[in-house]
């Protein structure tokens, strides 16, 4: 085991980033024009990075597998983006956002990165507003805020339930502006299938044109992976269907360490599974926990309809267990609490694997407030109800519509049924303070890296991190590397390393096509998902993880013998795309279980049943596990653990309490 160096600048926490920025080596404009950067991914991280780097003068190529950069998975984010603006005068500050994030992450994130994130958070909002992002506003014309889980201030900026869409369209407009000016070359319907490494440095990628099936070689002085998270290893998740780990996994196999793979976020408020046909799960934004109250019947297996259960026979279990934060406890805690109630027999709905999220009280509260605003004295219950629903519709209308569309039930009239689902992956490629992986010249941004959220991400912080990485961090930190690359001329893509990398990719694709087995890719993906959910999901234990590892190895073998991929190599072939992604998930799943097995403690989204307090809360072991687990690929099923010790110099590490 080697020590890994996170390259955290010296000095006081609050001054590190400022000092770093003022002393980082610069690349002069003439040289920038000769430096090429490959950006894989056009989500918030990729689009913002690509636009910003092109503005600085670098030559940029961007890749995404959708038909347009605007369709990256970031588009689906609903609830909002955090920033320490303190516009509400409710006590927010850079330090508080920093503190909340470290604590929310259950003391498993790196202090210096998180502080930098909090420092630049305000600039993100400024930038987005300047681009024309239509955030929600108050009647006075100023920006509106709401609260999210794990915090007691209102620091979340939003655009109805479409915040990700509006932020991404903002970043996309910046990107398209550069495309129009010719400073960015955009490659849509392209999938990166490997990184090319020359003399130990990342120098480009191999990508497949998904329409023609042709493999292409692209050179870059540096390569940025902004390829999102790997929640789809569970088959069912709230991620877009195409979200996958391939880019990160190929980088891992070429030397980039993979950090904390077992830290998975299970989101408490999703629409429950309705049947075997289910292809994905739909999130009901966390912002709904602002106003909605979560409950189950006090009686086990209660057969009554929600509205027939009187108030005093309802158990608002989050408010009961966590009076200080109530329905706004962090996600990991809310998810486990829901599982606990359902496992104990208090679940609702036909599957009994659901809890209620109820808006009745909020409708009355808003209705009364609205009556006051409109100067209606002594409003009738009916008037209150109508006005309350109007307010709720304005805040959450699209989410309510979506719920109704999917379930056929009207959430304005009956409480929603929700259950936890896989949502986000805190783990990812290990990066240093510069966002560089262990491979020089290879960077990871956004959800693809492991950096800022520790063992649990707070709501509205992923959008913040993706845009921080792309707009405000990488434009500086990449200079640190590229300043020493100005003498490297563009490397020919006919060079040996490119040819060999392309051949390896081509061989793998041919191998997949030639299996000609009997089962479609989905069969394997569903099986893998079930193993992961049952044994490496919301709760894990040693025996289960050991079984899971064996089962995954067996499934992987079966996949490589029996998968059936129709169609051709040289044509649009969605089944081939899926197969290549599932092949990587089948390797990643094993590493996730191994990481979970190694971590003999519970923290954040990683809950090992053997390690809990008497009250069922996560029991951390700071003495032995206050480290980032960074895994090095050594060959099939072989991974070597490296540790980055986490030092808390500014925050007193404590048991997380939301009581």
């Amino acid at each position: 085991m080697t020590k890994i160096d996170a390259k955290i600048p010296e000095g006081n926490l609050a001054e590190k980033w400022t000092k770093y920025r003022s002393s980082v080596p610069l690349v002069n404009p003439a040289n920038k024009r000769n430096l090429e950067v490959v950006v894989v991914g056009s989500g918030l991280a990729g689009a913002s990075a690509a636009a910003s780097l092109a503005e600085l003068g670098y030559k940029v190529k961007v890749f995404c597998f959708q038909d347009s950069p605007r369709r990256a998975h970031s588009i689906a984010a609903q609830g909002g983006i955090n920033a320490a603006k303190n516009y509400q005068n409710d006590g927010d500050s850079t330090y508080r956002l920093f503190y909340d994030t470290i604590k929310g992450g259950d003391y498993r994130a790196r202090e210096a990165n998180v502080h930098r994130l909090a420092e630049v958070s305000g600039n993100i909002i400024d930038q987005c507003v300047a681009q024309g992002v239509p955030f929600a506003r108050e009647y006075g014309g100023l920006l509106s805020n709401r609260s999210f889980g794990g915090t007691q201030v209102q620091r979340t900026f939003y655009a109805a339930g479409q915040t990700g869409q509006q932020l991404l369209l903002g970043a996309y407009s910046g990107l398209q502006r550069q495309v129009g000016m010719g400073t960015v070359e955009m490659y849509t319907r392209h999938e990166m299938l490997d990184v090319v490494i020359i003399d130990g440095k990342a120098r480009g990628i191999i990508a497949r044109d998904l329409v023609t099936g042709k493999l292409e070689r692209h050179f870059g002085h540096a390569v940025l992976l902004c390829t999102g998270g790997y929640g789809n290893v569970f088959y069912l998740s709230t991620n877009a269907m195409g979200s996958n780990v391939t880019a990160a996994w190929k980088a891992h196999k070429k030397g980039a360490f993979f950090a904390n793979p077992c830290y998975t976020q299970i989101h408490p408020t999703c629409i429950p599974v309705s049947g075997d046909h289910q292809s994905k799960l739909t999130l009901m934004s966390e912002s709904l926990r602002n106003d909605g109250r979560i409950w189950v019947p006090k009686k086990q297996n209660d057969p009554r309809k929600a509205n027939d259960i009187p108030e005093d026979e309802r158990d608002y279990y989050l408010e009961r267990r966590y009076p200080a934060f109530g329905n706004l406890v962090p996600r990991d805690i809310a998810s486990r609490a829901a599982k606990e109630r359902c496992d104990a027999g208090y679940g609702v709905g036909t599957s009994k694997m659901a809890v209620y999220l109820d808006y009745a009280a909020a409708i009355v509260r808003y209705g009364k407030a609205e009556a006051n605003k409109r100067n209606i004295h002594n409003p009738s219950d009916e008037e209150i109800n109508v006005m309350g629903k109007e307010v709720v519709a304005e805040k959450y209308g699209n989410l309510f519509d979506m719920y109704k569309q999917i379930t056929g039930e009207d959430p304005y009239e009956v409480p929603m049924r929700i259950y936890p689902a896989v949502h986000y992956t805190m783990g990812g490629l290990w990066v240093d303070y510069n966002l560089m992986t262990t491979v020089p010249g290879l960077y990871a941004l956004g959800e693809a890296n492991f950096s800022d959220h520790g063992a649990n991400r707070l709501g509205a912080s992923a959008l913040m991190q993706g845009l921080a990485d792309g707009y405000f961090v990488i434009p500086y930190t990449i200079g640190n590397y590229l300043a020493s690359e100005i003498r490297t001329p563009a490397i020919s893509t006919d060079s040996e390393a490119f040819v060999a990398a392309e051949k390896a990719v081509s061989d793998q694709l041919n191998q997949l096509m030639n299996i000609k087995g009997s089962k479609p890719v989905d069969y394997f993906h569903k099986k893998l998902g079930k193993i992961m959910w049952d044994k490496c999901g919301m709760a894990r234990n040693e025996a289960g993880l050991k079984e899971a590892i064996q089962e995954i190895q067996a499934l992987r073998k079966e996949f490589w013998q029996d998968v059936r991929i129709p169609g051709e190599l040289d044509n649009l072939n969605p089944e081939l795309e899926k197969a290549a992604r599932v092949a990587d998930f089948l390797e990643l799943g094993e590493l996730m279980c191994k990481d979970a097995l190694n971590r003999n403690e519970s923290c954040g989204g990683h809950f090992r049943e053997e390690f809990q307090t008497e009250e069922g809360e996560a029991l951390r072991d700071d003495e032995n596990y206050a480290y980032v687990a960074a895994w090095e690929f050594k060959g099939e099923s072989e991974f070597e653990l490296h540790k980055e010790e986490l030092k808390y110099e500014n925050i007193k590490i404590a048991q997380r309490s939301y009581k």
């Binding site: 636009a51 910003s52 503005e55 959708q66 038909d67 347009s68 950069p69 605007r70 369709r71 998975h73 588009i75 689906a76 600039n123 909002i125 400024d126 930038q127 987005c128 300047a130 681009q131 024309g132 239509p134 955030f135 506003r137 108050e138 009647y139 014309g141 100023l142 920006l143 109805a160 479409q162 869409q165 407009s173 910046g174 398209q176 502006r177 129009g180 849509t188 329409v211 877009a240 269907m241 195409g242 309705s274 049947g275 075997d276 046909h277 289910q278 292809s279 979506m402 569309q405 056929g408 405000f472 089962k519 989905d522 059936r564 129709p566 169609g567 044509n571 649009l572 969605p574 089944e575």
Partner: protein, 252 residues
């Protein structure tokens, strides 16, 4: 077998951009009402794969009505029979047992078919690249609350910005016009103070690109608005026309 809907599907099959396509007929049975339309196609596809046939290619990603990727023309309407939803949000409870469903790709000269139900919509990206932005480099921004924006303007801009770029408006229009899409972006930025500086240039550049891509003219039939899954208002087209003509006029 999860449900009890039995359906006949007539689906457009086309191997690639160069070969001619045709309808093929398939039967599916045991479809559950809770399935989404795309999950019903998943069922068909997995069966086709097991039988050694080529599955139906279609675009999709988020499956929750926001990425704009899904694009099926179902029984003569883009995104199918329901108002205000995309294909991925359409559920099988909207169909009845024994029904025949016809499924085609978007049809428009500016959206050539790539395979089966998949079309090329990159013309939309080029329209945005022509002017659908505010020219503000990263780091140039002032404090976000420096310019208050009346809530009504912000809300109206937001309503226009809700466009998901799916192209249903084009598919619905007999002229294959892209006015609703283009005007939504022009309007969003015209309604906000941040969009003022480039207002005239933006409208001209985006309209010119739209024409260059081969989209048709607008004859005000309103089919686009009726079929838009995000309720983008046709008033945006009127606003864009005003923007455009005042820009052209001012330039003279």
């Amino acid at each position: 077998m999860e449900g009890n809907l039995n359906l006949t599907l007539k689906i457009w099959r086309q191997k690639n951009a160069n070969e001619a396509g045709k309808f093929e007929t398939y039967q599916v049975s045991g479809i559950s009402e809770d399935m989404s339309f795309l999950e019903m196609i998943d069922v068909l596809n997995n069966r086709l794969i097991e039988e050694g046939d080529d599955p139906v290619a279609f675009d999709h990603d988020c499956r929750e009505g926001i990425c704009g990727m899904c694009s099926m023309y179902i029984n003569g309407s883009p995104h199918g029979p329901n108002k205000g939803v995309t294909t991925c949000q359409l559920h099988m409870r909207s169909f009845s047992n024994g029904e025949t469903i016809t499924i085609e790709p978007w049809r428009a000269g500016a959206f050539p078919v790539i395979k089966d139900l998949v079309v090329n919509r990159s013309s939309f990206d080029r329209i945005i690249a022509a002017g659908g932005f505010v020219s503000v480099n990263t780091g140039n921004a002032q404090d976000a609350n420096n310019i208050p924006i009346p809530k009504e303007d912000a809300d109206e801009a937001f309503a226009a910005a809700a466009c998901i770029g799916c192209g249903a408006c084009v598919a619905a229009c007999k002229n294959a016009s892209a006015m609703l899409f283009t005007s939504a972006k022009v309007s969003q930025l015209a309604l906000l103070p941040q969009g003022q500086v480039e207002r005239a240039k933006r409208a001209q550049a985006m309209v010119a690109q739209m024409d260059e891509e081969g989209f048709g003219a607008c004859t005000n039939t309103g089919a686009c608005e009726a079929e838009c899954p995000k309720g983008i208002s046709i008033e945006n087209i009127a606003r864009m026309n005003r923007e455009y003509f005042s820009a052209v006029f001012a330039a003279k």
